[in-house]
């Protein structure tokens, strides 16, 4: 490795790195806010999903049998849980990103090392959170393939 690239006192956030991080933080903030808003919308959709489904079923006016009603209610319940879970996960994941954006931005403005540390912790949490979600999704995917294979 080129010796010129090595600073005397280890790595530092120099002007170029600071400007790059500052730019990344702006985009990260936009993404985080959009993600939190979408998460909120999903939670609301989940809450209204069951109400909407029960109203739709009641419009049918006794045409359906009890079994159909129960199955539809179960489906609406599962739909509600999935929507709320997805919304909650989106809100939680993007809160980490917002933490990274806000704290890093403040750290760069005030040269606060502790704040920069919290900001990078936010980035780590964001990556770790989505990686764990990804692992869970892959496990569910594998489980569904195995279940389909057994059926």
């Amino acid at each position: 490795m080129d010796q010129e690239n090595q600073p005397l006192f280890g790595l530092s956030i120099d002007g170029q790195a600071a400007s790059t991080i500052s730019s990344s933080v702006q985009w990260a903030r936009i993404l985080a806010i959009c993600g939190i808003v979408f998460g909120g919308v999903f939670v609301l959709l989940g809450i209204f999903f069951k109400t909407f489904m029960s109203k739709t079923m009641s419009m049918g006016g006794g045409l359906e049998s009890d079994t159909v009603d129960k199955n539809a209610a179960l489906g609406a319940g599962i739909g509600m849980v999935i929507y709320i879970l997805m919304g909650a996960l989106a809100i939680l994941g993007n809160t980490f990103l917002l933490n990274y954006a806000n704290k890093t931005s403040r750290a760069l403005k005030t040269n606060d090392s502790a704040m920069l540390n919290s900001g990078f912790a936010g980035l780590r949490n964001y990556c770790a959170f989505w990686a764990v979600i990804m692992i869970l999704c892959l496990l569910l995917f594998l489980l569904s393939i195995v279940t389909m294979g057994l059926m």
Partner: protein, 153 residues
């Protein structure tokens, strides 16, 4: 703000920062690699869809009134959508992998240039995803507007 938290030469990457960035790079690398696999699976899904559409086309060709072009367009359209989704998803994974690799090199060898390169890739990833989000929101807004206008007329 506490004065002892400020470095004389500006912000420096201390041990705690190193630990956070190293872990972020590890998870980022994992996410990127899984993302590439998912991209491959999406392309594979597209190919399977096209093959299924073609098989259905061959099976349906005996029926009277069957239009061959409809299935061809459907299959091609489906394959196009799958490939576009895979290509769009490929780039943020690439930038994330570059961020992770450069960060790993920077932390291992105290390489300032690699650290800057790493943050540059993180910025590009966030910018890319942000632009895609803006495009998607614009498309949704456009569809919503058209739906309102068509409902009003």
């Amino acid at each position: 703000m506490d004065q002892n938290q400020q470095s004389i030469f500006g912000l420096s990457v201390d041990d705690s920062n190193r630990a956070h960035l190293s872990e972020a790079a590890k998870w980022g690398r994992f996410l990127a690699i899984v993302g590439f696999v998912v991209c491959g699976l999406i392309v594979l899904g597209g190919i399977i869809m096209v093959l299924s559409a073609n098989r259905l086309q061959n099976e349906m060709s005996d029926y009277p009134g069957y239009r061959r072009s409809a299935f061809s367009v459907f299959g091609a359209g489906l394959a196009f959508v799958y490939i576009v989704v895979a290509v769009v998803y490929f780039f943020p994974c690439l930038f994330l992998l570059r961020f992770s690799n450069a960060m790993k090199i920077a932390l291992a060898g105290n390489d300032q240039d690699q650290l800057t390169e790493s943050f540059k890739n993180l910025k590009v990833m966030f910018r890319y995803v942000g632009i895609i989000l803006i495009i998607l929101l614009s498309i949704y807004a456009f569809i919503f507007l058209i739906a309102i206008l068509s409902a009003a007329t």
